[in-house]
Subunit: 215 residues, 2 copies
């Protein structure tokens, strides 16, 4: 049905969603590509071009209906229904991510007035002192049970927050378990089958690219 969507376009969709939620909260009924461009820092032409990948959202010269666009964006992003997320690695970084995702963020984001449907339902670690405990109701399993729990919980996305040397083994397990997408915080490139999408958050790369701007 849809053309193959470039990853850069997919990555802008949540930003449009955030923008349109802001317009919804301010009780706008219609939003133009110019307004969406101003909000997101993109040109109106880029906004319109991105949307053409998904069909017709608005009418020339009239703009987009805010409620319709919001619902369309949620459906495009597959977050109109619950999406279950697992977290592998419950050390300092894993704990901080859980705090961020569970307490303050994804599950019910007051900042933007829109509870989205990303639910962190399980964490995994190898540390026997935390395996079997829970974090604010989220159970922590031994990583050996990854495949079993992924199936049981219907987990589609895994966040990897383990040391670099363990990340590939975890990614391989995820792929074998049928996980669809990985958000990788370990500073290594992961080899997984093409059907598993990997996004990489690498602090070192981020800081090195920012260093370019320090001159």
């Amino acid at each position: 049905m849809m053309k193959r969507i470039p990853d850069v376009v997919v990555r802008r969709m949540p930003l449009y969603l955030r923008a349109v939620e802001d317009f919804a909260r301010r009780e706008h009924e219609v939003v133009s590509s110019q307004e969406l461009g101003d909000w997101t820092g993109l040109t109106p032409a880029q906004v319109r071009k991105d949307f053409t990948f998904f069909g017709e959202f608005g009418k020339q010269g009239i703009g987009y209906n805010v409620k319709f666009l919001r619902q369309q964006l949620r459906e495009i992003l597959r977050i109109s229904e619950n999406v279950h997320v697992g977290l592998v690695g419950f050390g300092n970084l894993g704990r901080a991510l859980a705090h961020y995702l569970i307490d303050s963020h994804v599950t019910d984001n007051p900042e933007f007035g829109s509870p989205d449907k990303l639910r962190v339902t399980a964490a995994f670690d190898v540390d026997e002192s935390i395996v079997g405990t829970d974090y604010r109701g989220m159970p922590i399993f031994h990583v050996d049970r990854l495949s079993e729990i992924v199936h049981e919980h219907g987990i589609k996305i895994i966040v990897i927050a383990v040391p670099a040397r363990h990340a590939q083994a975890v990614a391989t397990k995820c792929a074998e378990a049928g996980v669809k997408a990985i958000l990788n915080f370990a500073p290594v490139t992961l080899n997984v089958p093409d059907e598993v999408k990997v996004h990489h958050t690498d602090l070192t790369l981020e800081l090195q690219s920012l260093a370019f701007y320090t001159a």
Copy 2:
């Protein structure tokens, strides 16, 4: 001297650096754009095009001298000399970032055999129970002293890991203090003058864009 470099190109430079360091470690003397492309997942044409922004690094049909390219990339990224980094917010996330940056990562990265020059030299918080203490030798200051310490330490990059509602105030302080670049972990868009470069790491956006691939 140089053309204005698109941010996407700047962001790929650390990846090329990591690739070329891997080739250096494996004692390659020369590397081709094909090999760099295979390593980074980009096309050889993209590699060559990216490098044209910075001048001539190699010869047609011969490839790039590994040591020369590594040094060039470090200089382009301004990490051939020390770059001082500050961390604002020392809660769960800030502590995890400090752990990652100081203990395991940027300051001396055994994973890739190349100590780089990004040094996290100070953290800032408002919690009086930690202000005045240190984390593995890195002092934690009250955020009221941001401007003073930024000047004293020559800090060029600030990592913001505070709650969303405080992030703009911190960013404004950073800009006033002459910080050149901000890596923002708070889920808000920051308004700063054009001369301050902001990169945004937003877990919610990352997970929402990955949700697209879960169908």
